[in-house]
């Protein structure tokens, strides 16, 4: 492992994190609240540590897959640790376990919270809490790659380990440029969302905070009742649409911007994703009309918001869906597993993987009928090679392995089964709220510190797609001569 180079990049990462805290410092100064001291101290600490690490001289600048994995997994743990400093120092979240949970939840775009009462917290702290959503959405290391001077050839390993989806692609030949394009699209869409929310009548601060939460598909809110608190139908529709858009593979936007809008609708993953969303909305609307809401319009409003929020793994809510009928809740839980598209800011298993699994199942069925048949699995007209397919299946197994282990560990707390089960689903898929006492109106404060750490790592496992984190816990990964 190229330790020097890894430390150097991690140092750069800390400097970037410090830079990202500057807007929060500004917010707390504007609102004249005491938390600016916490930010000032954190920024100073991060800068000192970051600059001294970055000044390490690395003779050998080659990075291989192992180094990429180490940078990503350690990087995420380090930014989460240092990102929780403002929470602790400002006294907003005094306990370390809570602050770490909240920060991991922010960076992994989960949006689960241990806070019972949000609105009384200082504005700067809430701003940082949601800004972590935004940063984590596209990936902090992708941002690093976009800025890092001389991001060389082998930094593709980092992007591969951080970017969601089975087979991340470069948009242009240069890694740094690819990262820059992705971030420009992301930033552009976020700005449009902010402007629209302000036009819809949300206060400026709230628009910013909710736009960050929606863009990163994180789902932190500055209000106890989440988006429902505003009871503003325009804002809800805007957020619904944008959550859906942020759950689409950003590569498609790049091609659309280059004039190839057709490729968006030709993409099988996009069609699958949009299809699931439409069908789920219809089913839930039908199910809700009558028993819960009086009119179809009202049902449609809440159903579409909630479906969009859950499948993109955002986790905003306009209504306590804990109170919905079981059929609707079951659909939402299924959507939690499926998640958004690859290459988006969302989490979950990802549509493309579900699609590939379904296609593999179909192929196996054909094989039963015609044992000698030769079939290739195609997605969007392209053959999938066996590497991708076996990668998808092993991802699926690994996902459920982590899932089962986490459920066992969380069940030690003795909560009811629905709460235990959905708290793990909500964290591993980076959604936020689950059902039961961790539902949209509940929170994770009741859990023991041990469970909070377990869930924090479940979130990291989910965001980094299992393997990078899993390797971190494998002894042979750390051996000098890795055999």
């Amino acid at each position: 492992m190229n330790i020097r180079m890894i430390l150097k990049i991690l140092g750069f990462l800390l400097v970037i994190e410090a830079a990202c805290m500057l807007p929060c410092l500004l917010v707390s100064l504007i609102y004249k609240e005491h938390d600016f001291i916490a930010f000032a101290i954190t920024i100073a600490v991060l800068l000192t540590a970051g600059v001294s690490l970055y000044s390490i001289r690395a003779k050998n600048t080659n990075l291989y897959s192992r180094d990429g994995v180490a940078i990503v997994s350690m990087g995420w743990i380090i930014i989460s640790l240092s990102g929780s400093l403002p929470f602790i120092l400002s006294g907003a979240i005094p306990s370390f376990a809570d602050a770490f949970f909240e920060c991991v939840s922010g960076f992994t775009t989960t949006g689960s919270s241990i806070l019972r009462e949000i609105e009384s917290l200082p504005k700067g702290i809430l701003f940082w809490r949601n800004f972590t959503n935004w940063l984590g959405g596209m990936g902090v290391l992708v941002l690093t790659l976009a800025i890092l001077p001389r991001a060389g050839a082998t930094t593709f390993q980092i992007m591969k380990a951080e970017s969601p989806g089975p087979n991340p692609d470069k948009l242009v030949p240069r890694m740094a440029q690819t990262a820059q394009i992705l971030y420009s699209i992301y930033l552009g869409m976020t700005v449009v969302l902010i402007v629209l929310l302000i036009i819809a009548g949300m206060p400026v601060y709230d628009s910013l905070v909710h736009a960050f939460g929606a863009a990163g598909t994180g789902g932190f809110s500055s209000r106890n009742l989440s988006v429902g608190a505003y009871n503003n139908i325009f804002a809800e529709v805007i957020i619904t649409v944008f959550m859906f858009l942020f759950g689409v593979n950003f590569t498609l936007y790049y091609y659309a911007l280059k004039g190839n809008i057709k490729s968006l609708f030709k993409d099988e993953e996009f069609r699958f994703y949009a299809g699931i969303v439409i069908i789920s909305i219809i089913l839930i609307t039908v199910n809700l009309t009558g028993p819960v809401y009086g009119s179809i319009g009202e049902s449609l409003r809440h159903a579409s918001f909630q479906v969009s929020s859950v499948i993109t793994t955002t986790g905003y809510s306009t209504y306590d869906f804990n109170l919905w009928p079981t059929f609707s809740k079951a659909i939402l839980v299924l959507l939690m597993f499926i998640g958004a598209s690859a290459g988006s800011t969302g989490g979950g298993i990802k549509c493309i993987r579900v699609l590939v699994l379904l296609k593999t199942v179909r192929r196996e069925m054909k094989k039963v009928l015609h044992p000698r048949s030769v079939n290739t699995v195609q997605v969007s007209g392209r053959n999938l090679d066996d590497g991708v397919m076996s990668g998808v299946t092993s991802y699926f197994y690994a996902f459920f392995l982590v899932f089962v282990v986490s459920i066992l560990l969380i069940s030690l707390d003795g909560k009811d089964l629905i709460t235990t089960f959905t708290s793990v689903v909500a964290t591993i898929s980076n959604i936020g709220p689950g059902l039961g006492s961790v539902g949209p109106m509940g929170n994770f404060a009741e859990f023991s510190d041990f469970s909070k750490f377990v869930l924090s790592f479940t979130m990291l496992f989910g965001r980094l797609e299992i393997f990078p984190m899993m390797l971190l816990f494998t002894p042979s990964f750390w051996r000098r001569a890795n055999i």
Binding site: A153, T154, T155, Q157, V172, P173
Partner: protein, 455 residues
Amino acid sequence: MKIIIVGDGKVGYSLAENLSKENHDVTVIDKNPEALRKASEYLDVMCLRGNGVSAKTLIEAGVKEADILIAVTSSDERNMVCCLAGKKLGAAHTIARIRDPEYADDLSILRDELEIDLAINPEQAVAQEIARLLKFPSAIDVEFFARGRVELVEIKATPGMPAINMRLMDVFSRFSPDVLIGAVQRGDDVYIPNGSFVIRENDSLYILGKPASVYNFCRQMGKFNQKIKNIMIVGGGRIAYYLAKTLKYYDMKVKIIEENMDRCLELSELLPEALIIKGDGTDEALLRSENLSDMDAFVSLTGHDEANLLAALLAKQCNVSKVIAKITRISYPLIIKNMGIDSLVDPKVITSNYIVRYVRGLKNIQGNSVENLYRIVGGQAEAIEFTVRTNSMYLNTPLKNLTLADEALVAVIVRNNEVIIPHGDDVIKLGDRIIIITKNRQISDFNEIVLSGGK
């Protein structure tokens, strides 16, 4: 520049590596995902799986905005069609590898009708390279600058050479003031030496100067004493054919050993002056009976790297003074260098260098002032040739008054067709063409290597 490379084989990969290092945007197309995997893991390039002849794939790779399309698949015909399609679709320049000698005579037609801007024949390029090495037998490597008026020759400081343990400034004042040592390789390290540098045994010296001065200097160093007249070539492939044809003009006699009878007949028809012998080139008895030890040079060009190396070692043991081996797959340059074989030629490297030079040439047209850039000392240093076009305070100042960056050296000044090997009192003027030797730094102007000084 935006460059598309079709074919991710040995040459394709090496091209992608060199061109992406020079900050070009490279897209590699290949049908084989296995081949692409290596490129996508180790290089900062975009990889695209598909058939490079199909218009759909080319458009997807961005051929419309591409500056250069390079076709280096294994098939000549595919390369031609690829270039043709690429040109029609909008690529500004096209380069194809075309190796079949039957097409060699059609190159001008290819250029005009298919609009292929550069057709490279790797075997011919290798043959030319070997011919160049045979002209300078004691040199390990030879390069030309300033349109052939300046030469860079690599020689080894063998025991007994008069310059050993002398400081460079003394070497020059005692032997020849008209040459310059641009770089020294000692073990794995490369030095850009200054006047107080001391030469040690087994250093590889890179000597720069006018051909005659370099030749004289090498003579004084005890090299180049004997001219090569008789050459034995093992393996009668295309390279051997081109090489024999070239050597004919240098008045050198060639003996070719080839195993395949049909090929022997063919060669004897094509090369009436050469002596063609049917036999196994790795058979020691045969080589000795063909009086290997009386040969001035030995070139092994069979299709097997191992056979080439072993035959070359045998030739070295028989005291052949210049031994050259062709290597295609094995890449352990240090180990092989220690085996004592004088020169190694790698068709992959030669082909890709040739194309890279052409690409640099195209880039220069786009307003960059670098005219030539050679990687020397196994890629660890660069010799950069450019014309000084921008005025600066460092011009017209004696070089001794300027502090240059570490590991950079002004090696040659060409002013109005006059070659100057600069010393402390020389100055650089506007419009001079200069050659700078430096270690792995991207330089495109003189100002960039001057740290301080000037008026």
